[in-house]
């Protein structure tokens, strides 16, 4: 009986060690692959945000990833890196060039390793607000009526993709975005993007509406 208990304890301990150790190794491999593939030529992986002017932002070719672990849902990046599909209808911050859908595609195992690394990059400004993705009717009202967010962001409506092209698409946000990050981005946008072409709503919209909006957005399919 006693031996069984000791055995179970060590078995659980060993499995935990194996899992966290393997994940850590995976992330280290991912970091090496990230550098090797020159991903940092387009993506910033060290915070904080540094852009001060519109020119600074327009020099970028891809989104900052220094808070990727806070922004994305677990599992999303691994799948996306193995089979990248455009998130923005246009090239990064372009108003003239449609997205060429030419992001490098990684073999499945490499994609998982790079994703594991990116998910270690987190921001202390995200989390703890109790935001969950859900069908939030009040949030829908803010999104569709009060601020017409679809004017710049595509979304799926009755099976069809509709909406403006300048911002990242929100179709599939449920699989992609961490609800806590959506909220943090709305209330503290300058932490993540000091310069961006989306207006600042923080200070204009009360916290209750921000919460409802974040829950609605992060539930879009």
């Amino acid at each position: 009986m006693f031996n069984k208990k000791i055995f179970s304890f060590f078995a659980v301990f060993f499995l935990c060690f194996l899992f966290t150790g393997a994940n850590d190794l995976y992330a280290r491999d991912g970091a090496a692959l990230f550098t090797q593939n020159k991903c940092n030529a387009c993506h910033q992986v060290e915070g904080p945000a540094t852009d001060k002017t519109i020119e600074d932002l327009l020099r970028r070719n891809g989104p900052e990833l220094w808070y990727a672990g806070s922004k994305f849902r677990p599992g999303f990046l691994g799948k996306w890196l193995a089979d990248p599909q455009p998130i923005r209808p246009m090239e990064y911050y372009s108003l003239t060039e449609p997205n060429k859908n030419d992001h490098p595609r990684l073999p499945s195992e490499e994609a998982k390793a790079v994703a594991a690394y990116l998910m270690t990059l987190t921001s202390g400004d995200v989390g703890g607000a109790g935001i969950v993705a859900r069908k939030n009717i009040k949030g829908k009202k803010v999104f569709a009526k009060e601020f017409s967010c679809y004017g710049c962001h595509q979304m799926r409506s009755r099976g069809h993709i509709m909406g403006g092209l300048s911002g990242p698409s929100l179709a599939g946000a449920r699989e992609r975005l961490n609800p806590e990050w959506v909220y943090a981005y709305m209330v503290r946008p300058k932490v993540f993007k000091p310069v961006k072409d989306m207006p600042v709503y923080s200070g204009l919209v009360n916290d209750k509406k921000m919460r409802n909006l974040s829950e609605y957005v992060s539930n879009l399919d």
Partner: protein, 116 residues
């Protein structure tokens, strides 16, 4: 003596007042924020002008349309969005994004575009 004092005071105010956003800067701001809907040349043909939208973005080069608006109307719409003037909420509020000087600069730029 008094007129010299007035000239001195007026000059001081001019020299110390915050300069309005410069023309090149304002054009950059327009092309970054406004052109998404209103187009790079302001003709209302930005990439967000889609068939499914309930309204079309205003053509800033139209003297007929823009001439109906006072400077205060323009500033108010940029600051508070379309809802402030009973227009579409597709026009977002920029009061927390742009400074007052930048908004005044944009108003002047729109007047240049419409020549009105």
């Amino acid at each position: 003596m008094r007129s010299i004092l007035y000239i001195f005071l007026f000059s001081s105010i001019l020299l110390t007042s915050v300069p309005a956003a410069d023309a090149a800067g304002v054009k950059e701001i327009y092309r970054f924020y406004c052109a998404q809907c209103h187009g790079l040349e302001g003709k209302g043909d930005g990439i967000n002008n889609r068939e499914e939208m309930p309204v079309t973005p205003r053509d800033h080069t139209s003297a007929g349309e823009m001439g109906k608006l006072t400077d205060e109307d323009i500033i108010s719409v940029i600051k508070e969005g379309g809802a402030a003037t009973s227009k579409s909420t597709l026009m977002p509020p920029f009061m927390k994004t742009l400074t007052d000087d930048e908004i005044i600069g944009l108003k002047d730029y729109l007047r240049e575009l419409c020549k009105c």
